[in-house]
């Protein structure tokens, strides 16, 4: 704190954040090396990374960005959203709609205008809300706008009515569940329970091609770094300290003259947009978006990623998302039916023994073995104080 490094805002942002800097360097390296090894080395070479692995890691990068978005509101402002999957899915649907329009007349019914599922439903015209999605730029605007506007309207209602704590968590959960049911309906015009799939290409590049996959992977890495930097900029500004004040003592923040609802709304909207971007990058890599992404269980899993990684650190969220999802990939392969129990157990263990997550583990070990009592104040942001606030 005392030895702040001077320089431009970006220099200061990066240089004052040792852990984050290392993490960003690793992500950048992965974002370059993995596509390189996929494209440059032939299959069978010791250095080859298979497209399957690259796609899997690309998913993790998207989840990591989503986890950063969740940590931004939960770790720093105490807003426990159990419906953040909704914003992720909306970003995904916006991208999916663009990809559907890209199919053009190559669909089964060869209708140049209408996606297959609409032809199947005997629709003759494109619904108005599908207009513009044939343009990439428009779809990208909607990737931010759809989650952003929903978060704004929802947040304005909830925060201005001073809904906090578990009540807020419950209504966010209800929000994503309501969207799940809505998107399941065929007449909503989003492909019903099949969702949007059978994508052909993005910006004219074949989605099945390794080079396109590699570019998407690289883009996911860059998006994660940018998302992290934006979040880091917010939490290290005075605004970030106001968020912490709201988390730890909302009434104090109000009596200091801060309009708490506007601060919450701002960070909630930013977080929703980051989640939307994560969803938009996720969809072309996995090749499908369906209403299942709105399922409440997904949103709860996100909370576990952040808790396991270490709440209120941002980079901990990245680590948590990758660790838990790696475990999920492994265990759902090995013992599928046990996975949910393990996930639940992981959450309980983390809450009991690792209140600051895996990134707090080192500090915990240091306190226990290298200092003579009294410690515990070191890992600043995720304080015990905040726990009562969820």
């Amino acid at each position: 704190m005392k030895q702040e490094i001077k320089g431009g805002p970006l220099t200061r942002l990066i240089m004052n954040d040792v852990a984050g800097r290392r993490m960003m360097a690793i992500i950048l390296a992965i974002a370059v090396i993995v596509p390189f090894c996929n494209l440059m080395f032939p299959e069978g070479s010791a250095f080859h990374v298979s497209t399957y692995t690259m796609t899997l890691l690309g998913k993790y990068l998207c989840y990591a960005l989503l986890a950063v978005a969740v940590d931004l509101i939960w770790g720093y402002c105490g807003i426990l959203s159990l419906g953040h999957g909704a914003f992720f899915a909306l970003g995904g649907y916006a991208m999916g709609m663009y990809l559907m329009r890209q199919i053009g007349d190559r669909g089964v019914y060869a209708n140049p205008e209408l996606p297959d599922f609409m032809v199947f439903l005997n629709w003759t015209e494109l619904p108005w809300y599908w207009y513009g999605f044939d343009q990439f730029w428009f779809a990208m605007v909607m990737v931010l706008a759809a989650p952003g506007i929903l978060a704004f309207v929802f947040g304005a209602l909830a925060f201005r009515s001073r809904v906090t704590g578990v009540y807020l968590s419950i209504i966010t959960q209800a929000l994503t569940y309501a969207l799940l049911l809505a998107f399941f309906r065929n007449d909503m015009g989003f492909g019903g329970n099949n969702g949007l799939t059978d994508f052909k290409d993005i910006l004219g590049f074949d989605l099945q091609a390794d080079s396109t996959r590699a570019a998407l992977f690289f883009a996911s890495g860059i998006a994660l770094i940018l998302g992290y930097l934006i979040s880091r900029f917010i939490v290290t500004s005075k605004l970030g300290r106001v968020l912490v004040a709201i988390r730890d003592s909302e009434s104090r923040a109000r009596f200091l003259g801060y309009r708490v609802e506007w601060y919450k709304l701002f960070v909630f909207v930013v977080s929703a947009m980051l989640a939307g971007v994560a969803g938009a990058l996720y969809v072309p890599q996995v090749g499908i978006i369906n209403p299942g992404e709105f399922a409440p269980i997904n949103s709860i899993e996100m909370i576990i990623w952040v808790a396991v990684g270490g709440r209120g650190t941002l980079f901990g969220a990245v680590i948590g998302a990758v660790l838990v999802n790696y475990a999920k990939t492994y265990f759902t392969g090995a013992f599928a039916e046990l996975w949910l129990f393990m996930l639940g157990g992981l959450f309980v263990l983390t809450t009991l023994y690792l209140p600051k997550g895996v990134v707090g583990l080192w500090a915990q070990i240091k306190d226990k073995f290298f200092s003579s009592g009294g410690g515990g104040q070191s890992g600043k942001p995720a304080t015990d104080n905040a726990e009562g606030k969820i």
Partner: protein, 255 residues
């Protein structure tokens, strides 16, 4: 001005409350409370538990809406129409009974956040620490005696130091009127007397309303005293005067 008409006295006041009533589920927490504080005045408020002291602060600071009555700040703002943040930004600072500093932020960050102005989201995002702000923080620090704890988490301070930090945060807001709830609670005798000195110093620039139970502390403040009982004013005057009031002895001091 229609607001001025509702005032029943002529002299200027920083806080004017007339006929303020609040009830919760039929219980009258404030019962037609009338009270006014002149600019630059320090006022001590005493009263038994449940007399309505905290509720009074809640209605002044916009936390609770009164059922009826007038509350004017500086003879112009009707405080019953604003929320906590708006009232705070008009110049009413409030200190809670339990020290409420932001424990996971440092002493410096707590003070920085309290400094007047820059309350909008955009201003907070683009905030820069100017030398004027730094000077103001230094000035407050020398008053509250926390210079050597500047970069420590507020959570690691002692109870008394937290109380002082919270007072420092009030000063950062540069309020005209300070509402202070039991500042001496949990303080050592020495800290209590130091606090009384600090308040006397503050009363040169601000108007203060201090709720307190500690009679020695009130004696040290040496100011007008208002006794609340069952949501309205029971007696008002100098401490000596109030102490000899038969009703006050019955409901409060005698116990």
């Amino acid at each position: 001005m229609s607001l001025a008409k509702t005032k029943h006295i002529d002299q200027p006041t920083v806080l004017y409350m007339d006929g303020v009533s609040v009830s919760f589920d039929g219980f009258k927490a404030l019962n037609s409370l009338s009270l006014f504080i002149e600019p630059g005045e320090m006022r001590a408020i005493i009263g038994p538990n449940g007399a309505g002291k905290t509720t009074m602060m809640d209605v002044i600071t916009g936390k609770t809406r009164p059922d009826e009555g007038t509350i004017l700040f500086n003879d112009e703002h009707d405080l019953t129409r604003f929320d906590e943040a708006q009232v705070a930004n008009m110049g009413v600072g409030r200190k809670f009974q339990k020290p409420s500093v932001i424990e996971s932020l440092t002493v410096f960050e707590n003070l920085e956040m309290s400094l007047k102005g820059g309350r909008s989201v955009w201003q907070a995002l683009t905030h820069k620490l100017t030398s004027a702000k730094q000077d103001k923080i230094d000035e407050i620090l020398s008053m509250i005696d926390l210079k050597d704890r500047l970069y420590e988490d507020a959570g690691s301070l002692s109870h008394g130091q937290k109380q002082w930090l919270e007072i420092g945060m009030l000063l950062g807001q540069e309020p005209e009127l300070l509402l202070i709830d039991e500042p001496a609670a949990g303080m050592t005798d020495e800290e209590t007397m130091k606090t009384a000195e600090l308040f006397k110093e503050l009363s040169k620039k601000h108007s203060l309303m201090v709720v307190e139970h500690d009679m020695d502390f009130i004696e040290a403040l040496d100011c007008r005293v208002t006794v609340l009982h069952e949501g309205s004013v029971l007696a008002e005057g100098s401490l000596a005067n109030v102490k000899n009031n038969q009703q006050v002895i019955e409901v409060y001091l005698g116990r």
